[in-house]
């Protein structure tokens, strides 16, 4: 890895502003890393020319004294974001070849802030998956390997698996992810990087391919908490084109960073001590508690009584919303069309059968079922009632604490194909991540350490709604104490 590709966004920005290196040098270094990293399958499209064009504009801006917040920084963009003129397929065959004529609000915000685009990042199809194995482009291979000498291919997590692998392998200094039920946080944990899902409504969903609209949120993934704060500040903001966008000013999260947690109370939810979780996960959690105490926080036990119902609630609501959102893929307006059938109805069914993968079909079918006449109240309304109780659990807990600390995932990264045979075993990956999604709360994963196999484990912070600053600050306190500098050994 060249010197530039091992730097953080903050370091690249500082070096660029000081004149230590040009934006073009940065873009060229990352463009080369993207090509050299093709065996990881992290990118679905490479756009070196766009990264260079933004770099040249940044170099000109520097010469003119007109620097923008992300001038000189090239980023990877998850394939779920519509990018003008560049294939945007959500990892699905049904959108193969789709070139949007518009730019998503979040990626437009990043470009307006001066950032360039290195390419589009691989992901689970329509963000439905926790291992990147549902992608129409094939799985992303994690740059991490177990230290057992077998070199088994591991998952980088999902659905933002290409995003996570790209940052961990130095194929981008920062990337966009999206998180519906853990899709930023679980891959961040699996690959030893940081990622934050902000409060629902902070980042516009306009131009992001919809999966489950009441849950989908964009967020940054990068190597440090500071980098996440820098990126999130550029990504967030009110957008009249998204009806659920929050009309609030964007806080100065970078300037507000402080790892001094004196006066803060951190809640430890007793229901997150679940059976069957490896001892190493609980050990890193206990270590995280000590780090937060060391930063000045007071630690208190809390209760989130409906935790065990969060996953089943999610697996009713998310498929229901997905079945509705994915109705638009009908072979008429964009994407794949299956021909050779006689009627319009047959064309819809043949197109969707050919274009959707197995997990997407499974979820659309479950969603269709739970919304169908006679079952709507038993499943969907019931789940929305339990969702109210889950949100109430958090509100009651936050009466007695400022933040919540949990593990990010119930295991370290697993091998490809280890969990594909059992959908529910795969769903359990997100057991710690999903409750915050159902409640719309800001939540972040930061690296805690390595397990005995040499694989990263993440710590997970959940904040009150709109308190991204509290989450970032606690993340910074952990980052400073964890001293996590491990990087995957380059084999690709």
């Amino acid at each position: 890895m060249s010197e530039l590709t091992s730097k953080t966004i903050a370091e690249l920005r500082e070096g660029f502003r000081a004149g230590d290196h040009s934006a073009r040098e940065i873009a060229e270094a990352f463009n080369a890393a993207v090509v050299a990293g093709r065996s990881l399958n992290a990118y679905t499209v490479e756009t070196p020319e766009l990264a260079l064009a933004a770099a040249d504009a940044a170099d000109a801006a520097r010469a003119a004294g007109e620097l923008k917040p992300l001038s000189g920084i090239p980023l990877g963009i998850k394939d779920l974001f519509a990018t003008e003129g560049t294939d945007s397929t959500a990892g699905s065959n049904i959108l193969k070849g789709f070139k949007p004529t518009y730019e998503s609000r979040v990626s437009a915000n990043l470009k307006a802030a001066g950032a360039g685009m290195l390419g589009k990042l691989n992901m689970d199809e329509f963000a439905m998956g926790s291992s990147n194995e549902t992608s129409a482009y094939g799985p992303v291979i994690s740059p991490w390997r177990r230290n057992d000498g077998w070199n088994a291919a591991l998952t980088p997590g999902g659905s933002s698996g290409g995003s996570a692998a790209a940052v961990a392998a130095g194929l981008a200094p920062g990337v966009t992810g999206t998180d519906t039920g853990g899709s930023i946080r679980q891959p961040a944990a699996f690959t030893g990087i940081s990622g934050i899902k902000p409060t629902y409504g902070r980042c516009s969903r306009w131009g992001i391919v919809s999966f489950a609209s009441s849950l989908d949120q964009a967020g940054p993934m990068a190597r440090t908490v500071l980098d996440c704060a820098i990126m999130l500040e550029a990504m967030a903001g009110f957008d009249p084109r998204d009806a659920t966008s929050l009309n609030l000013p964007v806080p100065q999260w970078e300037a507000g960073l402080s790892s001094d947690l004196r006066g803060k109370k951190v809640g430890i939810p007793k229901e997150y001590r679940i059976d069957g979780v490896p001892a190493e996960i609980n050990a890193i959690w206990d270590q995280g508690i000590e780090w937060l105490k060391d930063a000045g926080a007071e630690v208190v036990e809390i209760s989130l009584p409906h935790t065990k119902y969060a996953l089943p609630t999610y697996y009713i609501i998310a498929p229901a919303e997905a079945s509705s959102n994915l109705a638009r893929y009908d072979g008429v307006r964009y994407g794949l069309r299956e021909t050779g059938v006689k009627t319009l109805d047959d064309m819809y069914a043949a197109t969707r059968s050919a274009g959707f993968g197995a997990e997407v079909k499974r979820r659309v079918m479950i969603g269709t079922y739970v919304l169908s006449a006679g079952y709507y109240d038993a499943y969907f309304t019931k789940a929305q009632k339990v969702r109210t109780l889950i949100k109430r659990d958090f509100a009651q807990a936050f009466a007695g604490c400022d933040l919540i600390l949990t593990p990010t995932a119930p295991s370290a990264a697993f091998g490809l194909q280890e969990k594909t045979a059992d959908p529910i075993a795969m769903y359990l990956n997100d057991v710690f991540a999903v409750p915050a999604s159902l409640a719309g709360l800001p939540a972040m994963s930061v690296p805690g350490g390595l397990d005995s196999q040499g694989l990263p484990l993440g710590l997970h912070l959940i904040g009150r709604e709109l308190d991204e600053q509290g989450v970032l600050n606690a993340g910074l306190a952990i980052e400073e104490r964890a001293g996590f500098t491990a990087r995957p050994e380059k084999w690709w």
């Binding site: 929050l246 089943p312 307006r333 079918m365 006679g374 339990v386």
Partner: protein, 106 residues
């Protein structure tokens, strides 16, 4: 779908005929083998989510807004449009400024 057992029963399960019906509602063509494979998967997931029946939700309102927000109104003026060619640009079949589909009426 009206053919299932009453929705209030604690455990519901689907058979191949019902899966075929859901596939039809979802407009996904499925072979008989795919339907047969889907039946146990479908039932496993349904039985798993049915643990929500244990939760007492009497008097609980279903969640409608995850973060409190009010729906905005905008001025009733045209602020977009004149972009027909952009809209048709990704169509598998566009003819004469329209989306073209297989003939619906013989």
């Amino acid at each position: 779908m009206a053919r299932g057992r009453p929705a209030s029963r604690a455990t519901m399960s689907v058979n191949a005929e019902q899966v075929r019906h859901v596939a039809k509602l979802a407009r996904i063509a499925m072979s008989d083998a795919e339907v047969e494979a889907m039946v146990p998967e479908f039932n496993n997931i349904l039985h798993w989510v049915e643990q929500l029946a244990e939760v007492d939700t009497d008097g609980v309102e279903p969640l409608t807004a995850v973060i409190e927000n009010h729906l905005r109104l905008r001025d009733d003026v045209v602020d977009d449009g004149n972009c027909r060619d952009d809209i048709l640009k990704n169509a598998p079949d566009a003819q004469h400024g329209f989306f073209a589909v297989p003939k619906v009426i013989e």
